[in-house]
């Protein structure tokens, strides 16, 4: 399957880039004194397989990775996988909440403005979408912090409470970051859905549905929405890339202990193994999500199922 091939290639490129680093990876793993002994270093290199050709090393790394062993961080010495596991649900929750918010707000607004095309409501919503798209997520985050954390003191400016500790606490910490990210999503989903709805409402089967005496609301939600969701679904998948970038920014701003922030600190610490591990993970997630989009397609439009 193409999915697997792309995944393999992406991870290989990352691995290869890491291996081109200046500096000796062996030196990072042994104490300073031992580094002086050239012979010893060379021996270690041979033993640990650093002298093997690139594809071999990659294969070994891949084998380990599949079993969950992504190597150890150069800085902390702890297994990378141990750093990833507790942070994965944090970033995951942030992204899921953002997309959910985007859908819950963006879809009805898109339906509304498509249905009432040209009306004042439509123009207002479209203007809002335009502005929402133009405000960077960190600016929005800062504004939210200023209003809700500093002035009103309703929400904490930074930090994260896990769901396992307190659900309300968790909601309070996820609210502002998710909103900061979701506004752009809402704007994009809304626009795309709106233009597809406008096209769909001109179809003959919508006129047939009207001629049956069905109410406008029924027609919108149960006849027009599904055929118009194809572009939106593709877009949600494509937007994940931007969302990953966004979570990195937002995690920094709100001091959220997620994968993005860890990647960031790894960069500053020049922790190559960590950076590699996280990069691979994020790129792989992106590829997988996009492949999932294809499956969702088939569920939405039965005409596509045949060619599966």
């Amino acid at each position: 399957m193409r999915l697997v091939a792309t995944l393999l290639f992406v991870t290989f490129v990352t691995f290869m880039a890491t291996s081109l680093l200046p500096g000796d990876p062996v030196n990072a793993l042994i104490p300073i004194e031992a580094q002086q002994d050239r012979e010893f270093v060379e021996q270690l290199r041979e033993e640990w397989g650093f002298n093997d050709p690139l594809p071999v090393r990659y294969g070994r790394w891949l084998g380990d990775a599949v079993r969950g062993d992504l190597g150890n961080s150069y800085v902390t010495g702890r297994p990378i996988i141990d750093e990833i596991t507790p942070r994965l649900p944090v970033t995951g929750e942030l992204m899921v909440v953002t997309v959910l918010l985007g859908i819950l707000i963006g879809v009805p607004l898109g339906l509304l403005s498509g249905y009432r095309e040209g009306s004042r409501a439509d123009k207002a919503v479209s203007a809002f979408a335009q502005i929402g798209l133009s405000i960077p997520n960190f600016v929005l985050g800062l504004m939210l912090i200023y209003v809700f954390a500093i002035r009103l003191r309703w929400l904490p400016a930074t930090g994260w409470t896990r769901i396992s500790d307190s659900v309300t606490g968790n909601l309070k910490t996820v609210a502002m970051p998710a909103i900061a990210l979701a506004v752009a999503e809402v704007a994009v989903y809304l626009r795309v859905l709106r233009s597809d709805i406008i096209i769909t409402l001109k179809e003959n089967y919508i006129l047939s549905a009207r001629a049956k005496g069905l109410t406008d609301r029924f027609i919108l939600f149960r006849h027009a929405l599904r055929p118009s969701s194809l572009t939106l679904t593709t877009l949600i998948g494509l937007n994940i890339a931007g969302l990953i970038t966004g979570t990195i920014v937002v995690e920094q701003l709100f001091a959220i202990p997620g994968l993005g922030r860890r990647l960031f600190s790894a960069v500053f610490q020049r922790d190559y193994m960590m950076v590699q591990g996280l990069t691979v993970l994020l790129a792989a997630a992106y590829v997988i999500i996009n492949a999932t989009v294809d499956f969702v397609y088939m569920a939405i439009d039965p005409r596509i199922r045949r060619r599966a």
């Binding site: 290639f9 990352t14 095309e117 479209s126 800062l142 500093i150």
Partner: protein
């Protein structure tokens, strides 16, 4: 009246025919059509277009604007200025936390954004456009290789790639930023150029050119590329907004432009530390940033005939 699109024969003295001579020179025609375009815009679009003109002019001519202060002069070190000063006659937008003039920093920040966006766009247009056009025209293995590169580029989220790149290369700065992002940005330009080039290559005038023996590079340059570029230029405007946003984000995170250099994102980041004390220093760069991105989006929407608030003939 004679049909102006009909070919007129050359006059005997070798001069252009009467109709061609009566048209004003190209520069003037472009100027007039820009002005007409401006007059046709609805007022929000006009405001945005004006802002863009203003900001680009300010960015280019920053050094020569009379009275504009040095964005890096920290007066308080010499007992001359105050930090976090509100707007005054001397500093129209006040000073930041190290007593630098905010107005000057905003103007120079525009320059940073412009250099970055302009540089990346140029690379994308030139390399991406060429690569894509050639791929669509020449097909075969060349195309396969190029598209493979495109697919891989698109598989990496930009920020992740950027973080990866600066870790590996262990350097910061406007130059490295521009180069790294250019590498990624070539991909979408290539893709679009290739798609267009595919359809253009199948058109009759290309086949005709081949038939009379025109060499392939010549066809590429004279027939394919001029037809592919309009779409790319339109796309550039969309990409410009994304690039301005990206530069601001990277600088805000501290991994973009190094500190002394003025950058909207970087200034916002610095303002963040004192947000509880004094929120003002962040505001001008935020305004400039949002206004610029918004203006680019609005103007590019309008140019594509697609203004969000336009109603249809339903």
């Amino acid at each position: 009246m004679a049909d102006p699109t009909e070919l007129q024969p050359l006059q005997e003295d070798g001069q252009a025919p009467a109709l061609a001579r009566s048209l004003p020179p190209f520069r003037v025609r472009v100027g007039r059509s820009l002005w007409n375009a401006f007059r046709e815009m609805p007022w929000p679009t006009r405001v945005c277009a004006s802002w863009l003109v203003l900001i680009v002019t300010a960015a280019i001519f920053a050094d020569w604007i009379p009275g504009l202060q040095d964005p890096n002069y920290q007066g308080f070190l010499f007992g001359k200025g105050k930090t976090l000063d509100p707007p005054s006659m001397e500093h129209w937008l006040g000073t930041d936390n190290v007593s630098r003039d905010i107005l000057a920093r905003v103007v120079h920040g525009a320059r940073t954004s412009l250099i970055f966006a302009g540089g990346v766009l140029l690379c994308g247009l030139v390399f991406g456009g060429l690569l894509g056009s050639a791929a669509g025209f020449l097909r075969g293995r060349f195309e396969a290789v190029v598209m493979f590169y495109v697919d891989v580029s698109l598989a990496f989220p930009a920020l992740v790639f950027f973080l990866f790149a600066i870790t590996m290369l262990n350097r910061r700065g406007l130059g490295i930023m521009t180069v790294a992002v250019s590498l990624l940005t070539i991909a979408p330009f290539t893709r679009i150029a290739r798609a267009n080039s595919l359809s253009v290559s199948n058109r009759e005038f290309v086949t005709a050119a081949r038939a009379i023996g025109t060499s392939r590079p010549r066809i590429l340059v004279r027939e394919i590329i001029p037809n592919v570029y309009p779409t790319l230029v339109a796309y550039s405007l969309v990409v410009a907004a994304v690039l301005i946003l990206l530069e601001a984000t990277l600088s805000f995170l501290g991994i973009g432009v190094p500190i002394p250099r003025a950058s909207w994102g970087g200034d916002i980041n610095m303002g963040r530390r004192d947000i509880a004390i004094n929120v003002w220093p962040m505001i001008p760069p935020i305004f400039a940033l949002v206004m610029t991105i918004l203006s680019v989006n609005v103007v590019s929407d309008w140019l594509r005939g697609n203004a969000a608030s336009r109603s249809s003939a339903l």
